[in-house]
Assembly symmetry: C2
């Protein structure tokens, strides 16, 4: 039997190796401030936290440890991906299905939420200004927000509910990891080596919904345009018939600093599920 922590780490590596993944670091592209080797080190560093989750630790502390290890290289490379992977790894101890992962996130506590907030002290994460009434719960406050969490009795799932809409990682938590499981199905059906499948599924996810990291950084219009262009490429099967168009789109987004990171997070989650289900193999 495979070890879920190992497959989770491998999923992070296969995700970043997939190319072309428009706007993201991939096997052939670095961003100005984020290089391929940051992602390699981030994946390796996350392993201890993933091991904790695989061994039955609570979601929050396992996530915090994963982020602390990931961030040892100095950049935020896989925060969102790990927020998906940690509950999925926990679920894989029992059965990696949507009902089980839903029960995992429903079982999170205020202590898990506190650990999630502490994770923000290890790394810079791009987040929106919160509405004024929840300013005491601004994640950028890190551990300083923990008393407010405790006063309100908010679990980590509650915190995720606060973050939807506007954050499609949080949305997975409240919707049974629906797109992650869909991504896994598509990865199983796709052709080629795992990184090629990852690139194909990334594009299909990007074509469906505006990437919420792009919305936060560049606004809804830019995100919608990216989605439309991805949809056009998917519709005409450009990865097979006009790969140059996808490569150009990838270069253009990198040049403009438009980075659909949430879609990459979903791709990593799908890769993990597909590896665990032995629906793909190296």
């Amino acid at each position: 039997m495979d070890d879920p922590a190992r497959n989770a780490e491998l999923a992070l590596l296969l995700e970043v190796a997939g190319t072309p993944k428009p706007g993201n670091v991939d096997r052939h592209r670095d961003l100005d401030d984020l290089r391929f080797d940051h992602f390699l080190a981030g994946a390796v560093g996350a392993r201890e936290g993933l091991d904790l989750a695989a061994n039955g630790a609570a979601v929050g502390p396992a996530f915090e440890r994963a982020i602390e290890g990931m961030a040892a290289q100095g950049e935020n490379t896989q925060f969102g991906a790990l927020l998906l992977l940690v509950p999925l790894v926990r679920a894989a101890r029992e059965d990696l299905s949507q009902p089980v992962v839903e029960s995992v996130v429903e079982g999170t506590t205020v202590a898990d939420a506190a650990a999630f907030y502490r994770a923000f002290e290890h790394v810079d994460v791009f987040v929106d200004e919160p509405p004024e009434e929840v300013e005491p719960l601004d994640v950028r406050r890190g551990a300083d927000a923990v008393p407010a969490l405790e006063d309100r009795g908010l679990t980590l799932l509650d915190v995720m509910e606060y973050s939807v809409p506007g954050d499609d990682v949080a949305r997975e938590w409240v919707r049974g990891f629906d797109r992650s499981f869909t991504a896994a199905e598509r990865l199983a059906e796709a052709e080629g080596a795992p990184p090629d499948r990852a690139a194909s599924v990334f594009l299909s996810l990007l074509a469906e919904r505006p990437d919420t990291l792009v919305v936060k950084r560049h606004g809804e219009a830019v995100a919608a345009k990216v989605t439309d262009r991805a949809a056009d490429l998917v519709e005409r099967n450009a990865l097979e018939t006009d790969r140059e168009a996808v490569e150009s789109f990838a270069d253009e987004l990198v040049d403009r600093g438009v980075n659909p990171g949430t879609t990459a997070d979903l791709t990593a989650a799908g890769l993990f599920i597909a590896l665990e289900h032995e629906a793909i193999e190296i």
Copy 2:
């Protein structure tokens, strides 16, 4: 303090990410039968064996476990690199210096040698026909050779001594990991991100001695020619002044199936030492 197992795994990943590395899988090149994702999975799979070494397990069993995990993806990606890394990780528990790693290999036993032989049952390793008098010790016999090992009382260091000349991984074992430490010094002095340094140091090592995997597969004349061409590229600092020439050389060796894998193994060992000594960082 960094965990040596984590740094060893990261060294394997940074090695394969370095490009151009003539004749080897790198960030931009696959071989016919070996892809980049095989190396990613090999590094992740080796982690448990590396963890054993970091926790003080004997070299042979830790190596066998590392190879078993590495080989789960089906290909031999990092056998030689792990044969260097496992004793280095063991040494790092105390002090990662040449005298300490020498004492680690001098402390190996017949049981370590037996585990080394069992490792060959997990994976196809390209080896020469042995001379007739040591046929009972042919590594391709795997565990069947263990009684002969025990009869002769051979430790793993003894086995490595048998393999020199003709195997520059074994040569490290009997020469205090001299080239591995030299590679680490060069990595520290090189410029750029770690994978760029890896590519530069790989070329410098290739320029110095014929790669023993190339000798085994293609003969001494081919290996000597590869060394001469690498030396010419190093002499005229081609990675800086004529990168295209290095890229062409890399493409040509891949096309010809000339794969200087031993030089890649030494580069991975050097990366590990440099990471442990904090002489390079991501």
